[in-house]
Amino acid sequence: MKFDTVIIGGGLAGLSCGIRLAEAGRRCAIVSQGQSAIHFSSGSFDLLGQLPDGTPVEDPAEGIAALEKCAPEHPYARIGAQACERYAEAARKLLCEAGIPVSGSPRRNHYRITPLGMAKPTWLTIDGYLTTPSPEVLPFRSVCIVNVEGFLDFYPEFIAEAFRRHGVSCRFASVNSPDLENIRRNPSEMRSANIARVFDHEQNLDRLAARIREAARECEAVILPAIIGINRSDAFEVLKAKVDLPLYLLPTLPPSIPGIKAQQALQHRFRALGGEYFLGDSVLSAEVEKNRVKSIRTVNHGDIPFEAEAFVLASGSFFSRGLIATPDRIVEPVFGADTDFVPNRTEWYTEHFFDRHNYEAFGIRTDRSLKLLKEGSVMENLYGIGAGLSGFHPVQEGCGAGVSLISALFVADRILNSLKS
């Protein structure tokens, strides 16, 4: 199989890179080992919430400029502050065009509200999800928090506890219906996706709307877990029209409906642009000649290799096994590329779960154009993007989604430029 570019990894980074290249008319294939971490999305995309030393960031663009000095190995610093801001804007457009309606600015963080009711700085949030311009202020004085009876991955009490600290009065309501009870017959499958399927049906949306109207009388707004609209994309709009109150969604524990929707939207967009998405396949080996990757072979396609001009490694970090940790080293399993890590395992982490752990910043070593290195030599047509890159703490710094999107678009540009020249 011959392509212009083959991307290994079909998550946020891989898909956005593929979309950008396909938009430019390149023939791309994505090989993905199972579904991606987008499935755990909070409904928001973070750009930069904190500097490595813990200083909160209000203006991510400014924060990124600061990274150039205080964290020169950070992928943002290597891409450059100005380019980052440009790519951030391009990324927002890319998401919107893929059918993921997001708002936000790289010049000013807003705050998303978490399933525990906490406020976290973020960059882009999908329409419908509760956000605030400041962590102290909520857009209502009273709210009705609705949950589905027996749904264990959403916690109205926790949210209320946090809201009440800000003087918001909270009331609870729960919904039930024969269809929901039917799911609950199964002790484990009362999950967001199955509930959302129930609310794809009009009569269940009607019932939900009626319950909300009844319970939320005297409330300024309504909060609902993200269990609306898995196969029917207008479900939330339809519900909003039926409930005559501001209605906000909050994310749930996995699986995440906004995540599933985002994954599907990006995949559709990629395919619609002519991209080929190979799901459930793993790369076995690569044919490399003089620091150039010529082809890769996969489990499913065996003797028919994927050949391309350029290759992009977007296989993620440990979760998706883009990085593998053995007791004494960090391995990149596809190409055996060079990785950044400290050899002594006791230095990988501290004994406190919430600390900033060194392992989180381990990853593939790349040069300034994000080309991979192997035994010290630059691989001419192999780029690394996304969570597998080294030099940043995605969760602590609140920059995971941003690094994926920006590195993806940066590399897509590199590939397009190299083809031109």
Binding site: Q35, S36, S188, A193, F319, P327
Partner: protein, 408 residues
């Protein structure tokens, strides 16, 4: 020191880190609350069954073995295999119901039915007969049976094709499967036509049995293994003795021969596995990689085809080849339907107790097909074809049938 250097676990289920992604893509759990879902039935349940076999839950029988959980799993857990293997290891060891026997012995029933095809076809189409089958055998009366052919593919081949096929300079072997043999010999003939056009003669295997997929899903493992052994022996003779590649036209047979044999029946096939493949993939390689050319009719009417990816095709990851072949045909416009289960899963949807589940699973696909504006649906799996034709207004054909019908 080789202490857990790569943490490669023989117990593949331990790679599961409870991310719950599989639960989103299980077609059964979405519609049938009696099924524990892939995570509970698979890795979580396996851990408990290893503690004590009495943690086996008979509800595992609702798994339709589509393997979509495996395709979705980011941890490479062989969820579907774990569930099927548990059914084999802990489930009921004897399954003597007449219904399951009839449904799973496609070979036997097929060879009894084809000589009587006109009678059998008329009979199973009659409402009273279907009601009796429903009552006596629990085969749902709403289910439409595939028609039997008037004479098998193998009989036709021996009489009319064998000598002529042997004359070609290059040869391949063909595992035709029960469907081509008893229900749709035309597809076999289509394949011959295409292969011949590329200069290949098509040989039958020395001895071919049903691949056993239905036997496995109905708990008749011993018989499945016996048939598998016959097939593997024939395939080995073809590959090693006659130096032939083995091609197939059914995605499910292919998957069973290549992957279910070693994973579920413990029948090693590593030496020949790579030589068994779908004809569409074989053709893709000949045309795209080796420069072979097919001549198509110029005058054929435009045709809009919507491709449906069968579950086992999705698992093998080979739908690409069928779709690319369709795209090569002048005048054919291909759209690809979302990859989702049609609900039939071989014999699963024939059973009275599964009928509602089966149709509910397929419903989103049926809707998409109706809305697609396509003239016909193409797919590589015969049972998907039956389900789609029964449940939608569109005809459904094998990609090779479409291709053959447009050859110059």
């Amino acid at each position: 020191m080789n202490i857990q250097q790569n943490t490669v676990s023989e117990n593949n289920f331990e790679q599961c880190i409870k991310c719950t992604i599989c639960t989103v893509y299980c077609p059964v759990a979405a519609v049938n609350p009696d099924y524990p879902g892939p995570k509970q039935a698979g890795p979580d349940g396996e851990r408990l069954r290893l503690k004590k076999p009495d943690f086996y839950d008979s509800a595992l029988k609702y798994c339709l073995n589509c393997k979509r959980c495996e395709v979705a799993c980011p941890s490479n857990v062989r969820i579907g295999d774990i569930i099927q293997a548990a059914r084999i290891k802990y489930g009921p060891q004897r399954n003597t119901s007449l219904r399951n026997f009839v449904l799973s012995n496609t070979d036997l029933v097929g060879s009894l039915a084809t000589p009587l095809a006109p009678i059998v076809n008329t009979a199973v189409a009659l409402k009273p007969v279907r009601m009796v089958m429903d009552k006596v055998m629990a085969i749902d009366h709403r289910r439409i049976f595939p028609k039997y052919a008037h004479g098998t593919f193998t009989t036709w081949y021996r009489k009319h094709a064998a000598a002529q096929q042997a004359a070609y300079p290059k040869q391949v072997a063909y595992f035709h499967g029960c469907y081509v043999n008893y229900n749709n010999p035309q597809l076999g003939k289509d394949l011959l036509r295409i292969m011949n056009a590329l200069g290949y003669g098509v040989q039958l295997l020395d001895k071919e049995k049903c691949c056993g997929v239905a036997l496995i899903s109905n708990g008749l493992y011993k018989q499945a293994k016996r048939q598998a052994e016959v097939n593997m022996a024939s395939i080995r003779t073809a590959v090693n003795g006659r130096r032939l590649d083995v091609i197939t036209t059914s995605s499910t047979c292919t998957f069973t021969l290549r992957d279910e044999y070693p994973h579920l029946l413990q029948l090693e096939n590593e030496d020949v596995r790579d030589r068994i493949e779908l004809a569409t993939r074989y053709l893709y390689r000949l045309i795209r990689e080796n420069g072979a050319k097919l001549k198509f009719r110029e005058d054929a009417a435009p045709l809009r085809v919507a491709y449906h990816t069968p579950c086992h095709m999705e698992k093998m990851g080979w739908e690409y080849y069928s779709i690319e072949l369709l795209r090569m045909i002048p005048g054919v416009e291909v759209t690809v339907l979302d990859s989702q289960c049609c609900g039939i899963a071989g014999t699963y949807g024939f059973k009275k107790e599964n009928y509602a589940t089966s149709q509910a699973i397929g419903e989103p696909l049926f809707r998409q097909i109706e809305a697609s504006g396509a003239d016909l649906v193409a797919t590589d799996c015969e049972t998907c074809k039956w389900q789609i034709e029964m449940s939608t207004s569109k005809p459904c054909e094998h990609p090779l049938h479409i291709l053959a019908s447009r050859l110059a």
